[in-house]
Symmetry: C2
Subunit: 200 residues, 2 copies
């Protein structure tokens, strides 16, 4: 039985498709939309179609961008174009940029190799990475995939793939996170932190 | 600093306004929209504007409805029009309908009296309820607001307001929920269950 009017039912259904949103939350969100003014609802609706229409991948680094040509990072002359940082997702670029420490370029794979989810190397933007590295202008590739099994495996796969091009391939350091407590660090992290210890 | 393209940033912002959605969730939802096909995104966007445009309150019971005139429940000839069930929100109508036990009409207040949130009787659809009851065709009004302080106070307020019209005003029974365990029932509920005990 259906007791919501069809248009409301349709909106609940759309919200319920979002990841992490159940039927109850979808209803709450739909009621929220009804509580908006016409203009606010129109803005929300417009933001969805606009994002979908205008956002594309940068032809160089595959990060998300808007408008024609390469993204602002690839196009910037103040960036060190001899270094490429390889990340899994566009949001990882944001995380790296937040550190304000990195000044090179990026390459976004849009996923990691994951046989369990049927994602192989051909499903990722690996070919374009190899092309960029093979052009000869790159001296270092930093693997910044997540420190989990799939991220590790992807980094390992890429480092082997890039070896023939005589390029330096590095991996982000493992260790105890800044501001954390030793007692809460897991064994694997502590082991890696010991391994990677540096002179003071 | 902003590293997402403006259209994506705008979409994240829209999602972040939804109740219970933080910045991280909003980003996840925005990325989900990008992963949709053009058609799917257009449908989502359309559902928002359509719901906002076409959903209105039934002029009789104030429940949400679509199209002209009274809602399907108010318009139905199979419903017992001498009984009105007063609920706080449209979703409470759905809960009541799910029980398949009630065959009367509804009245949706769109809120409860809540001095803490600056909601007084004038902010609710109380005047139209009084008009319906004063017409004389109603023999019973069932108060089905939530069994919390504000729902209680609203039910109490309404029952006093409707007393002059010689109408029977009832309240949903309190007691232990079906399928629950006595040991987990709170004191107040057990007390009400004892008070309301019935002969077998």
């Amino acid at each position: 039985m259906q007791y919501f009017p069809p248009a409301l039912e349709a909106l609940v259904e759309q919200f319920a498709r979002l990841p992490g949103v159940g039927t109850k939350s979808a209803q709450r969100l739909a009621f929220y939309v009804l509580s908006l003014t016409e203009d606010e609802a129109a803005n929300f609706s417009h933001a969805i179609t606009q994002a979908k229409k205008t956002i594309r991948c940068c032809p160089v680094c595959q990060n998300l961008t808007q408008g024609e040509g390469p993204c602002s990072i690839c196009a910037s002359s103040r960036r060190d174009s001899s270094t490429i940082c390889v990340v899994a997702e566009p949001k990882d670029v944001i995380a790296m940029e937040r550190s304000r420490e990195y000044n090179g370029l990026y390459h976004v794979l849009h996923g990691v190799i994951s046989p369990m989810n049927h994602v192989g190397p051909d499903d990722l933007h690996i070919k374009s990475l190899v092309e960029r590295v093979s052009s000869g202008a790159v001296s270092e590739v930093i693997m910044a995939t997540n420190p989990d099994t799939e991220g590790e495996a992807t980094a390992m796969y890429l480092s082997r793939l890039l070896k023939p091009f005589q390029v330096k391939v590095t991996r982000l350091a493992y260790g105890i996170p800044v501001g954390s407590h030793l007692e809460f660090a897991d064994d694997a992290t502590l082991m890696r932190a010991l391994e990677g210890r540096r002179e003071m």
